[in-house]
């Protein structure tokens, strides 16, 4: 184990790359998912169809195929070489956006149509209704699903090592080759991924707690429990 720990600066650097790629993928993917998910529900048929075609085209091949395409094939077509880290983030971000857009779409569709009608009757325009009323409510449906997807995306970041990005998996392979401590290196790798995945899960759980609709429902539950308790106390007092 000591032999492995001698390589801690390299491992730390790999960890940093993995965390960076993950954060860019999850945050960028969330923004992309809201944009694509919103466009999928556009009132314009052309926009809806174009978005649907893009989503179906993107999610059919595996992310690894897209990664090879963007990193190896695209420069041959465009003549511009792309940095492996940029290519990795771009592909994973689009992957998260496309898959996340389905979570966003179903979350938006779950918001009662009456909410949009009420916004319209009050004079709010479409973007005001979306930002101030529909999206805040839809987030209660979207965030748990997106949280689960974020954990998967976090694990997918390991594919970036295929194009030479020196992430945690890449540097672990390097350390294993140097130390021949295969079992220990991979055990350490599994533990680090497990801890980071748990961190992502906790972050999304915390986010769920502060969502406006969840906060409102918790307040309603608390006041209902308090009044139930009050009734019980009164009943006991009367008895």
């Amino acid at each position: 184990m000591m032999a492995i720990l001698e390589y801690w600066p390299v491992l730390l650097k790999g960890l940093w790359i993995t965390v960076t790629v993950s954060l860019c993928t999850i945050i960028g993917g969330a923004i992309g998912a809201v944009i694509i998910g919103g466009l999928r529900l556009s009132s314009s048929t052309a926009v809806r169809v174009a978005t649907m075609v893009f989503v179906e085209l993107w999610r059919s091949p595996s992310a690894l195929v897209w990664l090879f395409w963007v990193y190896y094939a695209l420069p041959m077509v465009t003549g511009t070489r792309i940095n492996p880290l940029t290519a990795a983030i771009l592909v994973l971000l689009l992957e998260a956006s496309v898959y996340g857009s389905e979570v966003v779409r179903s979350g938006l569709e779950a918001v009662n149509r009456g909410q949009s009608d009420a916004c319209y009757a009050l004079g709010l325009n479409k973007s005001q209704s979306f930002i101030k009323v529909v999206l805040p409510q839809a987030l209660s449906q979207i965030v748990p699903g997106f949280g689960s997807m974020a954990r998967t995306m976090f694990k997918w970041t390991a594919i970036v090592s295929f194009i030479g990005v020196q992430d945690l998996l890449y540097v672990s392979q390097f350390v294993r080759a140097q130390t021949f401590e295969t079992t220990k290196v991979f055990l350490l790798l599994a533990v680090v991924y497990w801890i980071l995945c748990l961190g992502v899960a906790f972050a999304f759980r915390a986010l769920e707690q502060v969502l406006p609709l969840n906060r409102a429902l918790r307040a309603a539950q608390a006041s209902s429990s308090a009044s139930q308790l009050g009734d019980n106390v009164s009943a006991i007092g009367a008895a």
């Binding site: 009662n112 009456g114 909410q115 009608d117 009420a118 319209y120 009757a121 009050l122 004079g123 709010l124 325009n125 005001q128 101030k132 009323v133 805040p136 409510q137 406006p212 609709l213 906060r215 409102a216 429902l217 307040a219 309603a220 006041s223 209902s224």
Partner: protein, 288 residues
């Protein structure tokens, strides 16, 4: 035009302070050409969903300040009339005018831009059967959202106005409550206050007590009675509460099969209806 503006800016809006026109009926305003300007006017409206014709050649005019109630069996097109007035649905043919301005076409006959449509629509407020309060916002936030976003009022100004209307509906103590913490009747009263903070000149009430039990419905109807009595706002009401319709309305229109089969004062409709269909409908409702 000046007559219309005068009505719009004063008598026709709801004043939560209670100082307003107590006149049940307001004379029809006139334009410069002495043509009557109706608060709302449906002209030869047809509305179909596929092959199903919901409204057939509907003509309906509401005077400024007038309270008109639409009654009739379910599926006769009453709610569609309100949704058309709010432009939540578009008619298949015909025109709708709010204080003389078409909400569908400009003077050249082309479709209105959405901004222009929104400007005219702003003179209407609507209260829905299912309340449609925003569940993630508190009562106060529900009431100030549209005034701050649409009317660009300051938060302080919008809050002051919201509190006035909350007092009017008797719920000033619920400012920080969320809709889920309120009873159905309270939610509907908040929904009425939310519509009123936008100071509409026409209030559209769509079966506002249908989702409430009769005891709770009474508190909502009391609020509407008070608004009807104390304000000059025009009202187009869809309801199955016949006693309420009789008390609050200046005129009642009976719908059947997408047409108005009879209309008149509450006394005429309830005591001596002309149509056999009206008689049978009222009998079935009142004996229920």
């Amino acid at each position: 035009m000046s007559r219309t503006t005068e009505l719009s800016s004063a008598g026709n809006r709801v004043n939560p302070g209670g100082v307003a026109s107590s006149e049940r009926k307001v004379d029809v305003s006139t334009s410069s050409k002495q043509e009557p300007v109706w608060a709302i006017e449906f002209k030869k409206i047809c509305k179909s969903f596929g092959a199903f014709r919901v409204l057939v050649d509907l003509d309906l005019k509401v005077q400024p300040g007038e309270k008109v109630t639409l009654i009739g069996p379910s599926g006769s097109g009453k709610t569609t009339v309100l949704r058309l007035a709010m432009t939540l649905a578009k008619p298949t043919s015909g025109d709708i005018r709010i204080f003389g301005e078409s909400i569908l076409f400009d003077q050249a006959g082309t479709l209105l831009s959405s901004a222009e449509e929104a400007r005219i629509r702003r003179r209407c407020g609507m209260v829905f059967q299912q309340f449609n309060l925003f569940p993630h916002l508190t009562v106060l936030q529900n009431l100030i959202l549209a005034p701050t976003t649409v009317l660009k009022q300051s938060k302080a100004e919008a809050k002051e106005s919201a509190l006035r209307y909350l007092r009017m509906v008797g719920l000033e103590g619920k400012v920080d409550a969320y809709p889920a913490q309120l009873s159905g009747g309270q939610q509907q009263r908040i929904a009425i206050a939310r519509a009123l903070v936008m100071k509409p000149e026409i209030l559209l009430l769509d079966e506002i007590t249908s989702a409430l039990d009769p005891e709770i419905a009474g508190e909502v109807l009391d609020v509407v009675r008070r608004i009807a009595r104390e304000s000059g706002v025009s009202m187009l009401i869809v309801t199955h509460e016949m006693r309420f319709a009789r008390e609050v309305s200046d005129r009642i229109a009976v719908f059947d099969g997408g047409r108005i089969i009879e209309q008149g004062t509450p006394e005429k409709i309830f005591i001596s209806p002309e149509s056999e269909r009206t008689r049978s409908f009222l009998q079935s409702v009142l004996n229920h």
